[in-house]
């Protein structure tokens, strides 16, 4: 039973070509700020074309199954994308990535069950591609779920390490691949199930030892994995849309992962196997040295006066601002200061927050004028002429240890040189260390004053103080 509308394979492949062009143009536009939003829409149109014309494929005869699945998926997808808070977007991206990987693995498993009668009837390339999708898709699914759980704080964000971890992981991976080889050789479903289970377990173990601060890089890597898994299903189903769409993501995702790592001055190997932010070997020593140093506290009123009578102020936002949803209050403070003739700029570190671009998104939400936002390279030369650097919930990206302490896990990471400003005011909840789990010498600097409390209420107090000044 086929639909009377069924198109020829040639016609469908032609629509796939149109879809592929739209996806490529979409990604290209996504990589430049003025065109990014339209790029996303163009890619979505390309995707819609591919999906609609797949419905007209003569091989499809279970419409109800597809329609029901798409209805459920649409409801879940729309609800989660609309309801998620801006601060929770990184873990939502992880989740969407995970289900994509899961879908690729399930497609492979289902095709394996349909086509493998047991006993070497499958073409070698088909079975190879199936097993690859099942393996990579499952790793991406399980790894993404762990990344989600870490960012959502269902699991501890710190690296989870145990003895002989890398040996265990390598052995598990080898065993999983062996199951895949046996599944291909015997076409026995049992080996396929073992392959899936092994790959899921490996995905979990791969991400567990990686610290929360590295999650964006990991999600980007798993994103590339899912792309390759999808492309691989295209080899099985001989479908150009799948090969092109999946491969584009596999390639651009790999490059993006490298670019993200570079912004943090970290190699991919270091992210995956470095156990970044693990309880530092000198943990006790670090804590002890904290005791020996003293920091200076400041009241909101005093800090407000300092800001109100400054000539140049640079605001350095970080994750604390995102958590407290302080972006609107910050905008109000900046507006007040500008009205008094203070020059206000924002210093945006490429990895401030928990995802690159996090701060741009939040400040844009509060309608902070785009020309006031400065990248790290552009703002760093300004700090020596800055009267007050106002650090709001940013920590590791301001840590001078990245410049001066070769033993530090963040040594070499480019930072914002806030310590070069005449005065530094740090808004922070407590003296606890940042995401990387290391102490920040900036806080013990003689020109630094600490204003403790929730970022939003602290900024609101500063607003009141500036009004009164």
């Amino acid at each position: 039973m086929t639909t009377p509308l069924a198109l020829s394979q040639t016609a469908i492949n032609f629509t796939y070509l149109v879809a592929a062009v739209l996806l490529i143009v979409g990604i290209r536009r996504l990589s430049a700020p003025p065109t990014a939003r339209s790029g996303n829409v163009i890619a979505a149109v390309g995707m819609t074309i591919a999906i609609v014309f797949t419905f007209l494929d003569g091989d499809i005869d279970e419409y109800w199954l597809i329609a029901a699945g798409m209805a459920v998926g649409t409801v879940v997808g729309v609800a989660s994308a609309r309801l998620v808070k801006m601060t929770a977007i990184p873990q939502m991206v992880a989740l969407f990535n995970g289900v994509g990987g899961g879908a690729a693995a399930l497609v492979a498993a289902s095709e394996f069950h349909r086509l493998a009668p047991g006993g070497g009837h499958l073409a070698g390339d088909d079975v190879g591609a199936m097993l690859f999708s099942a393996l990579i898709g499952s790793v991406s699914f399980a790894g993404s779920l762990v990344a989600f759980a870490k960012l959502q704080e269902l699991l501890p964000g710190r690296p989870i390490v145990f003895a002989a971890q890398q040996v265990t992981n390598a052995a598990l991976f080898a065993a999983t691949v062996a199951c895949g080889v046996l599944a291909g050789a015997t076409e026995d479903g049992v080996w396929m199930v073992l392959l899936l289970v092994g790959a899921l377990l490996f995905g979990v173990l791969l991400v567990l030892p990686i610290g929360g601060a590295d999650m964006p890089v990991v999600i980007s890597l798993l994103n590339a994995f899912t792309g390759l898994a999808a492309a691989s299903t295209g080899f099985v189903l001989e479908n150009t849309a799948l090969i092109i769409g999946g491969t584009l993501v596999g390639a651009s995702g790999t490059l993006l992962t490298i670019l993200m790592g570079r912004a943090m001055n970290r190699s991919l190997a270091n992210v995956l196997f470095g156990a970044f932010g693990a309880a530092p070997p000198g943990g006790a020593a670090v804590a002890a040295s904290t005791d020996g140093k003293s920091y200076r506290e400041i009241t909101a009123e005093d800090a407000a006066v300092m800001l109100a009578y400054a000539n140049r102020v640079v605001i350095v936002p970080g994750y604390g601002l995102a958590v407290a949803q302080a972006q609107h209050a910050v905008r109000e403070l900046a507006d007040l200061l500008e009205k008094r003739g203070v020059d206000v700029k924002y210093a945006i570190h490429p990895v401030a927050g928990r995802m690159p671009g996090h701060m741009n998104v939040l400040l844009a939400e509060a309608n902070v004028p785009y020309p006031q936002l400065f990248d790290m390279e552009d703002i760093n030369p300004e700090f020596p002429h800055t009267d007050v650097a106002l650090v709001i919930g940013a920590n590791d990206v301001t840590n001078p240890a990245a410049r001066s302490v070769p033993e530090s896990p963040i040594y070499g990471m480019p930072i914002l040189n806030v310590d070069e400003a005449a005065n530094v005011v740090v808004l922070k909840r407590s003296m606890s260390p940042g995401f990387a789990g290391i102490d920040n010498d900036l806080y013990y600097n003689a020109k630094t004053a600490m204003l403790f409390g929730d970022a939003k209420s602290s900024v609101e107090k500063l607003v009141a103080g500036v009004k009164a000044a």
Binding site: R114, L237, L242, G246, L248, G357
Partner: protein, 91 residues
């Protein structure tokens, strides 16, 4: 379609994938990751084809879950990317 055709398309797509994002500012890293994340939801096409030709109950169940998962990936992925990018719009 021969295996060689598939490999040809794959290799060309690898080059395009690398070329199109060679220069991207850090502020767009996350939206770009999220946008490409939506694009690998193209696996929905595969899930549809598999669901459409599923023979046994097991295959139907697997394919149904695959369709649900892939649809969440596509729909959620594009919407959440749009939400992020909405905030970049110039005033």
């Amino acid at each position: 379609m021969s295996l060689l055709n598939s490999i040809t398309i794959f290799v060309l797509a690898v080059f395009i994938g690398f070329e199109i994002i060679s220069k991207v500012p850090a502020m767009l890293h996350t939206p770009l990751m999220s946008g490409t994340n939506a694009i690998h939801g193209i696996v929905l096409v595969g899930a549809m084809l598999v669901a459409g030709s599923a023979d046994s109950t097991l295959e139907q169940v697997l394919a149904f879950i695959a369709v649900v998962f892939a649809t969440v990936n596509v729909v959620g992925g594009f919407l959440v990317t749009d939400r992020m990018l909405e905030m970049f719009k110039r005033r």
